[in-house]
Symmetry: C2
Subunit: 200 residues, 2 copies
């Protein structure tokens, strides 16, 4: 292969990766804003400034696009969360609790919620979303255990962390229709204390 | 008015009330099973064995039917929950915790979830569902405080109960795509202990 061809190939791959990324981010934004019914590959392609043909080259079906999108953004958030506490187990458990709850109140949670609810009525989507949810849930649990410095060998600790993550999702749900920030901040402050005592 | 007319009127009112009730129960079942997109007044009327005309006499719009349905069933559940613990504050907080979480894992929660998510993208529905959610939320909180024997004058107790109710909704969400019963039972057992200590 000629050096010219090699030189051409690298930027082409970069462009392709950038297009894919734009589509994934646009897909999550669309899902959060318009819900499953209003989110088609065409709508996302337009939102991303990508041709419908290019979008379908990357994601042959709507299910491919949206499950990949939720997974991609969940991974980005996990990375961002770990980077917030670069030393691993954080000294300040309150800050970790607030950051994890924060993950459940943004557009990613909203998009994931639309995807879960759509999957509960659509067989094509159901198996994929169930598998995706299990994977993302395990990863979130792993990060929470690590950052909270929770010792899962102690009885009850695993369930304590799980219950806290369920609460974080419930707080995300409470933020769906109204801005629940003020109430949530008070709940998080109280439960950060209870969690601190339970894990100490 | 003749006595015959009076005698005729009472059974007619009873029939009307029974029809209304059948429609409300069918609406929640449809919403839980088919989601908002698949739940029309016609589908519900057929499910309830009621003519479309009779359904529209009771509920002129789809929004009327579904918000009334979720409210009706939520009230039925609240009543059922109070009847489980007729003495008010229960001796067994674990049983109260399990019963409240149980309310979030059945068809009512599933129907409410579909309604919330639909309302987040549909302006006509949004204001009504927001108002309904606030009302049902306050009532659930009131029952939880009463049955848990929680003294809200003590600092942090209000937020402790709120956080527990957020957790219950999060546990409901985790049950949407898969049967989460085994994991949930372990989480509930652990958090019932933590709640017991926090409220003692």
């Amino acid at each position: 292969m000629s050096t010219t061809a090699e030189r051409d190939r690298a930027p082409k791959q970069d462009r392709s990766r950038a297009t894919r990324q734009r589509l994934l981010e646009a897909a999550v934004a669309c899902l959060a804003e318009h819900g499953w019914a209003g989110s088609t590959v065409s709508v996302v392609a337009e939102h991303a400034g990508v041709s419908r043909g290019a979008a379908q080259h990357h994601f042959p079906t709507r299910e491919d696009l949206f499950t990949a999108a939720v997974e991609y953004v969940a991974e980005e958030r996990s990375t961002a969360l770990r980077e917030l506490f670069p030393g691993g187990a954080a000294d300040d458990r309150r800050a970790v609790v607030a950051a994890i709850v924060g993950l459940c109140t943004g557009p990613l949670f909203r998009a994931a919620l639309h995807l879960w609810v759509a999957a509960s009525n659509e067989d094509q989507l159901r198996a994929r979303v169930t598998e995706l949810e299990a994977r993302v849930g395990r990863e979130t649990h792993r990060i929470a255990v690590e950052l909270l410095g929770a010792d899962e060998r102690r009885p009850g600790v695993r369930e304590t962390v799980q219950g806290f993550l369920d609460m974080a999702r419930g707080l995300g749900l409470a933020n769906l229709l109204t801005d629940d920030t003020a109430r949530r901040d008070r709940v998080v402050a109280q439960w950060a204390d209870l969690l601190e005592r339970a894990l100490a």
